[in-house]
């Protein structure tokens, strides 16, 4: 318990540090939402200054930081000037869409990577392993940006898949099962690109840690004692190989919000990525800050989760 408490505190401190740092950085940034507004000739310098005062941008930094933290605790995450509304409500729908996409893709990628990696580790030196190694290396060298564009072109050409968005027009009038199917149909391509992008790294790690377990002396002695192959693989070797994989899973979880940014932009998925990009272009710092904090908390939480899992699973860590 003390260990978990310490990790939790550490994570919180990290987040506070990130928020202070990005807040200060936003302060140093030349230009803000209103200076971008000034490029519009209809807005005079006085109007911009008055608006700036009204939104509280002229108050000193610590005061604004305190106000911001209070608004984060309320769930508002500051006030978006571009959308003229609190940031929180803007975010949640986008976060849901992103999580739906990345969650599905991450789950599928692990579902494929685990058996494939284990099989590769047992089949080292055979042509099957070599082929899968070459294919995965090539896949690793293909940027997901390119994959997304190619998939999109295929969707346009074949017409089997939609060319963007999350739902068809008139989605609200469909029945419940049709709605789910419609979303799944829109999900297929972006999730496919994401899976292909994640797969090579995952399989590599699974293969490497399983290979290490298979080569260890205890595996040899267990085999010599006549433990059946299936049982040996899944009951003895997989737990022994689990530690790095748990860390990796924590990282997978941590990047749920951020892994799909480019794919969302290319494929028109209404997730956090396009919103973040628009916020940058409009210099809407409240929104940028909210996305940064949110993605950082996911990463920190992912690492924390992995730490806790490792602590539960591995007695060696508990002894320390």
């Amino acid at each position: 318990m003390r260990y978990i408490g310490r990790r939790l505190l550490h994570g919180l401190l990290l987040l506070v540090g990130v928020s202070v740092l990005s807040f200060a950085f936003a302060e140093l940034a030349p230009g803000d939402y209103f200076s971008e507004l000034r490029t519009d000739p209809r807005v005079s310098a006085e109007t911009a200054a008055a608006l700036r005062a009204q939104s509280g941008l002229d108050r000193p930094l610590p005061v604004r930081y305190a106000a911001w933290v209070a608004s984060v605790l309320r769930g508002d995450f500051g006030y978006s000037l571009a959308y003229n509304s609190p940031v929180g409500p803007l975010l949640w729908g986008r976060v849901r869409a992103t999580l739906l996409l990345t969650g599905t893709a991450t789950f599928l990628a692990w579902l494929i990577a685990l058996p494939l990696g284990i099989w590769n580790a047992t089949a080292r030196g055979t042509w099957g392993d070599s082929v899968s190694k070459v294919v995965l290396s090539c896949l690793l060298a293909v940027p997901d940006l390119l994959l997304a564009i190619v998939f999109l072109v295929l969707a346009v050409e074949t017409g089997y898949f939609p060319t963007g968005g999350m739902v068809s027009p008139g989605w609200a009038s469909l029945s419940a099962p049709e709605r789910v199917l419609d979303v799944a149909w829109h999900l297929a391509l972006p999730a496919g690109v994401l899976v292909l992008g994640m797969l090579p790294t995952l399989v590599r790690h699974v293969r490497a840690s399983m290979a290490e377990a298979i080569d260890s002396p205890f595996a040899l002695s267990a085999r010599a004692q006549g433990i059946p192959r299936q049982r040996l693989l899944f009951r003895h070797l997989l737990p022994a190989a689990a530690n790095p994989l748990i860390s990796l899973a924590g990282f997978s979880f941590g990047t749920l919000l951020s892994a799909s940014l480019l794919i969302e932009v290319v494929m028109g998925w209404p997730g956090l990525g396009p919103l973040f990009l628009e916020a940058i272009m409009a210099r809407d710092f409240a929104l940028v800050l909210a996305v940064v904090i949110l993605s950082a908390s996911f990463l920190v939480a992912g690492n924390l989760l992995a730490d806790i899992l490792l602590y539960r699973m591995d007695p060696r860590i508990r002894m320390k």
Binding site: L14, L15, G17, V18, L21, S22, F25, A26, L28, A29, P30, G31, E36, S137, C138, L140, A141, V142, P143, L145, L146, I149, V150, L152, V153, V156, E157, T163, G254, T255, L257, S258, A259, L261, L262, V265, V266, F276, L277, A279, I280, M281, R283, F285, V288, V291, V292, S295, A296, F298, L299, V300
Partner: protein
Amino acid sequence: MTTRTKIGAALVFLGILHGLAIFAGFLAPYPYAEQHREFPYLPPTRIHFLHLRPFVYGWAEGREDTMHSYPVQFLVHGRLFGVREPDVIFLLGSDAYGRDLFSRLLYGGRVSMLTGLLAAVLSLGLGLALGTAAGFHGGWLDQILMRGGELVMALPWLYLLLAVRAFLPLHITTVQAFFLLVVIIGGVGWVRPARLIRGVVLSARERGFVLAARGFGASDAYLIRRHILPLTLGVVLTQATVLIPQYILAEVALSFLGLGVGEPVPSWGNMLAEAQQYHALVAHRWMLAPGLAIIPVLLGYLLLADTLLESRNR
């Protein structure tokens, strides 16, 4: 294949690819911004041969005009090849403004690969300096640097890049944008190499010959220069092979999103952004070329990184 030949092959391969970009001014038949407004979205020019002499047909009304043929000329106007006006030779087709995609690809490779290289040099330099300082000095300096590093690592990488870019001016010249990209990508990436180098320095500090040299009264600067830095070389090299392709991809992503190098200077990222209009892309497949050009570069670096890692683990 032995490790040596593998590394050699990867180096030669990468050397050729980088050479293509470096000598873009000679290899490309046109300057990167030269527009041929009368030939938008021209498909790749077909090269024909007559008695082993290459020539191309003119282009009229959407297809090859076999009435007019132009020989491919070599070494004219300080360029490797070209054809006489009014005909054009577009090996990979042209874009919406009638600019030669092949030429832009070579020039764009210059921008993208140079960004990757310079950013890697920057982040490795920072990582080397900070990592060595943290590992060698220890104590409060170590604490500050490593805690600071954790702050940087607490953000997903691409988001961090975008956030840093968000807080910097949007409207800048292409040269400024290029250096800004290098500084952002390199400046953000110091943490991982610094942590690895710190680890090496920590163990090196306690090695017998370092302790002996210290006992003989060697200064810190001498110890670091003569005994500790050489030990970090392996980590620095493998990190370089991992970081450069990652940074090339970062440049591509940022320029693709309109936050990097902008028109008319080509980079693989902003060229891909033109290909993003998938309706145009369906009819003009060749616009995908900049995306495909990244693949061999990444493959080369991957092969190099894998081989180096394998040989270090053995």
